[in-house]
Symmetry: C2
């Protein structure tokens, strides 16, 4: 494996906060971002010593801007500036300086002059034992592509001058990667990795605010990395991600996300990372809902209404097992405060639970200590972002988790309507959203689906779902695009479990009979009629049963909801017709407004 | 004055939250945004009644999309869809429907066909007493400019068909406004107003996420409005602003901002609004700092160190007056909790305080009840966003606010170094930032200066300052671009008062002698030397006195800081050389890191 690095600009805090977080996550080295050093009270010597203590190499000092192809007085000033920075680098023990292609209005479009100036700079750098990595900014005034930067580096012909490749600057322009193959590895001084969503905007703003860790965006970083490694590049794989959310998020969490993303990227690029391959997942074994006193009865009531049987009681904990088809819900009275509810855990059926757990651990998922008594199952458990635990298990083995439950003998409903868990939906805190998506994607080995954006009553929501190829495990994440202020009266960070059915109308009727069907206003059906013109029978079915509806070329999606049970958990029932793979995102605002009304009504 | 309206999409909440907020702010009418109605439990009839109760007209129902210039089967479906919507409008009592130019992939580039289809639609609309306002979306598939939309409307030649002009769609494209002059007023059915910052990005994303209320962005809305009104347009002036922050902010606050922006716009466009013109401001009369027990001594210590004299004591309240030159600080022990500090009030010298107050009141600034005893000054006071009060006063009158203070007889420092207040800097909550800028700009009559963005240690900061033409009153606002999560250890919402000096080194020495100079690290001066190469004497002066430094073509800016006093207030001293009008924004990250270190050191 290559040494793994991270630019300090990726993380929030003071320089020491950043170095500490990078080392704790397991990075081998850092790029020191100049403004972080400038604001630090530690001298360069002290930073050098701190990095040594932390086991971090200083792989790069950056950025040095607006140097080349300028008039003589500016060149002289730039060389003076460089000289002072070389001295800082010597004290810091950093021997590689990133020089970005100029955006200076006085720079000229002359590769020969640029090469000459960079040669001069490299000469001065050599006196201090420093090497120069020249990088084409995507918005460079004259040099904005890596192949042109490479021609200038070649022309300059100085041993202390090489190239820095940054995936953002190259992939944001849609440049042809194949030209990378002609660069000899000894001239490829540095590789900076960043992903990004595809945005149609000013590239500088895109770069400065919206970069993401590998795998969180839309770039083909695995293909890029393969191409670079095929040249024989042996330097560090270093992340340089400017992101408004990461800039203010806990750097200890962000650094773990960063390293996880880099491991996932290497796996995707075929680099041997010693990561166990993700075992096949066969579905959701159970979802554990924490429901404190008071709330537990609400949850139990909804499960009963839906036709679940309370089939087991945990032998040592206040946990009930409810079952219907392959849908299993654990209700844990000890896992939430009075009146509160939360998705405490998601257990997935793994074909090889120990390998799943090893993979999660290698991907830096915190391993949870399990309290289990003699004779009880010892499930491998890790902590997912947002307070949910994840278990890997096999329900079909003798000594599995089910043996912990004493059968109650309660009969299942004779007319079972639900046959399994369709998906689990979790709402994340702003800072956790991209990290949570990365977690479930890499740890479970799921593929991301199309992101959605929904204008909900109390603010914009973004969502991203992910699933295995067979759609046996689906996780849907969402987040308030702007972190909520004091006004929003909606349920904070709601979570829900969606059950699959073949007869949604029957499920809705059961809920309504129990007073637990979320009612949907007439306006919705009138609009639905205008928009999608469902056949009259279908429209009447929807309207009569408070069902929401979506449709695309692949099929239809019918769904209904319970009220919010306790503080923030509710259930959904979904019926998929044809090959529909969506989640009814366009209906989310209607559902949210209905949940709010329902809450106000119940409180009144 | 024209009737003033607002689209419900501008505001957060359910439809009823929005209607209530719009009416409370004083709007005359609303555009009902369809998704708000669809999610509402109220029938169209009930919404109609509610609007009538609130005194709101329903000026527009919107949007109807993707109608015209499509193949026959799609046209038939679109007419069916329209028919159902016309019925909803009849029940709602809305007689104007916004039809946006099509973005449908099956629409064709044929103005004759578009005109024919719109004629057909208008025919059907007429049967329901509905009129159609056709609007060119800036990203319309074929029709993306208002003049082309106007040609189609003219060609269609139906009395129930007219044009809707939306400033965003027109100004985002940089279209020539003069073509508006040829549109007869009776064909101009509706006017939607929105401002926006100049962004170089996909216009649809720009429109959906970044619109602002008039005066908060970069568009020439006053010029636009003048042009439209010169045509003889008599319809409502209606705001349609899609903004991610406003979408989740308290709608009662946002609706007030909206109406304030519309009043300011009309004033700028020369419409008679009965707003008193902003009286000339002659400076900051005083800043009142709330400093609870414990914190008051810290604030007093810093003022003393800076050479302020405690010249007066309030006759009835626990408030001390500190003076130096024209800089005056009131320290109010009753206006903050124990250990806390805040800028409780800013008093500005107005040449006509009653007119300033009347203007503020007409601009919906909440008037504050003043507690004053017989014989004490009755200052006109309004509440600014963020918890700061604003007073309008004249310090040079006999019975002014100073008469409330009994002179202490404390002598002023013999060697006064500060001569006034340079600016007051306030950090806003995310939801308040654009509103606060609007408030100070319109109520005080200040001009906005260049916005700045700073990558601070704990997240990106945005700032906007504003000043009167003579720079006598300067207010600098800033905000964390992403609302902070739990990690950020910085001071929440810091505020500071910056004093002007002619001898910054002397001021810094005084602070240092008192142990109240914020120390700046050596790395800063090494970087400053490399970046700006100040003459050696100047560099030494800066370094020796912990001064920060900025420079541009207009002059130099030298500044230094005290530690944070109490919970969130600190002082700055600034010296401007030449005509420098900045605030040292590039130094903010260094200052913030230094403040954090100082806090940790003091706590240790």
């Amino acid at each position: 494996m290559h040494p793994m690095g991270i630019a300090t600009v990726c993380l929030s805090g003071t320089l020491d906060d950043k170095l500490t977080a990078a080392a704790a996550a397991g990075f081998d080295g850092v790029e020191v971002f100049e403004p972080d050093l400038v604001a630090a009270a530690d001298t360069p010597e002290a930073v050098r010593a701190r990095c040594a203590d932390l086991g971090l190499t200083i792989d790069l000092y950056q950025p040095f801007r607006d140097f080349e192809a300028v008039p003589p007085p500016l060149l002289a000033a730039n060389l003076r500036r460089a000289e002072l920075k070389f001295r800082v680098m010597e004290r810091l023990g950093a021997d590689l300086l990133l020089v970005c292609s100029s955006v200076h209005p006085d720079s000229v479009d002359d590769d020969d002059l640029a090469a000459e100036h960079l040669h001069l700079l490299s000469e001065r750098a050599a006196d201090h034992g420093v090497r120069i990595a020249y990088e084409a900014l995507a918005w460079g005034r004259h040099v904005s592509t890596f192949d042109r930067a490479w021609r200038i580096v070649r022309r300059a012909g100085h041993p202390n001058l090489g190239l820095c490749l940054d995936t953002f600057h190259i992939l944001s322009r849609g440049s042809d990667m194949s030209a990378i193959r002609v660069i000899p590895p000894e001239k490829l001084f540095f590789l900076q990795l960043a992903d990004a969503p595809r945005l149609d905007m000013d590239v500088l703003q895109w770069s400065r605010h919206h970069r993401l860790f590998p795998g969180q965006g839309a770039f083909d970083l695995a293909g890029f990395l393969r191409t670079v490694l095929e040249t024989g590049y042996t330097g560090p794989l270093s992340l340089e991600v400017f992101n408004d959310v990461f800039r203010q998020a806990d750097p200890r969490v962000a650094a773990v996300d960063a390293l996880r993303s880099l491991l996932g990227l290497q796996e995707a690029a075929g680099v041997d990372t010693a990561l166990p391959a993700p075992p096949r997942l066969d579905g959701v074994a159970f979802v554990e809902i924490g429901a404190g006193a008071g709330a537990d009865a609400e949850v139990a009531g909804a499960l009963e209404a839906l036709g679940f049987a309370r089939s087991g009681a945990h032998r040592s904990k206040p946990v009930a097992l409810w079952e219907q088809g392959s849908a299993r819900i654990l209700v844990n009275r000890a896992a939430a405060a009075e009146g509160a509810t939360a998705v405490a855990a998601i257990a997935v059926e793994s074909t090889d639970p120990p390998a799943s757990a090893r993979r999660a651990e290698r991907l830096l998922a915190p391993i949870l200590p399990r309290e289990h008594r003699a004779g009880e199952a010892d499930l491998a458990a890790v902590a997912a972002p947002g307070g949910t635990s994840v278990f890997f298990c096999r329900s079909d083995v003798e000594e599995g988790w089910r043996a912990d439950f004493a059968p109650t003998g309660d009969p299942a409903a004779s007319d079972s309507v639900l046959h399994g868990v369709d998906h689990v939906a979790l709402t994340q805190q702003t800072d956790d959203f991209d990290g949570a998506a990365l977690f479930y994607r890499t740890v479970f080995g799921l593929d991301p689906e199309t992101p959605a954006e929904v204008a909900a009553p109390f603010g914009l929501m973004r969502s991203l779902s992910m699933a295995d190829a067979a759609h046996r495990v689906r996780i849907a994440l969402s987040v308030a695009a702007v972190r909520r202020g004091g006004w929003a009266p909606a349920v904070p960070h709601p979570q829900h479990v969606a059950f699959a059915t073949g007869d949604i109308a029957a499920a809705a009727r059961r809920l309504r009979d129990a007073g637990l069907l979320l009612e949907i206003p007439a306006n919705y059906y009138e609009d639905l009629d205008a928009r999608l013109a469902p056949p009259p029978g279908r429209l009447e079915l929807l309207r009569a049963n408070a069902l929401l509806y979506d449709r695309d070329g692949d099929g239809e999606f019918l769904h209904c909801y319970t009220p919010v049970l306790g503080s923030r958990v509710f259930f959904e029932v979904v019926q998929r017709l044809g090959g529909h793979t969506g989640y009814g995102a366009p209906n989310a605002p209607v559902r949210m407004a209905a949940h709010r009304r329902d809450r106000l009504r119940r409180r009144a």
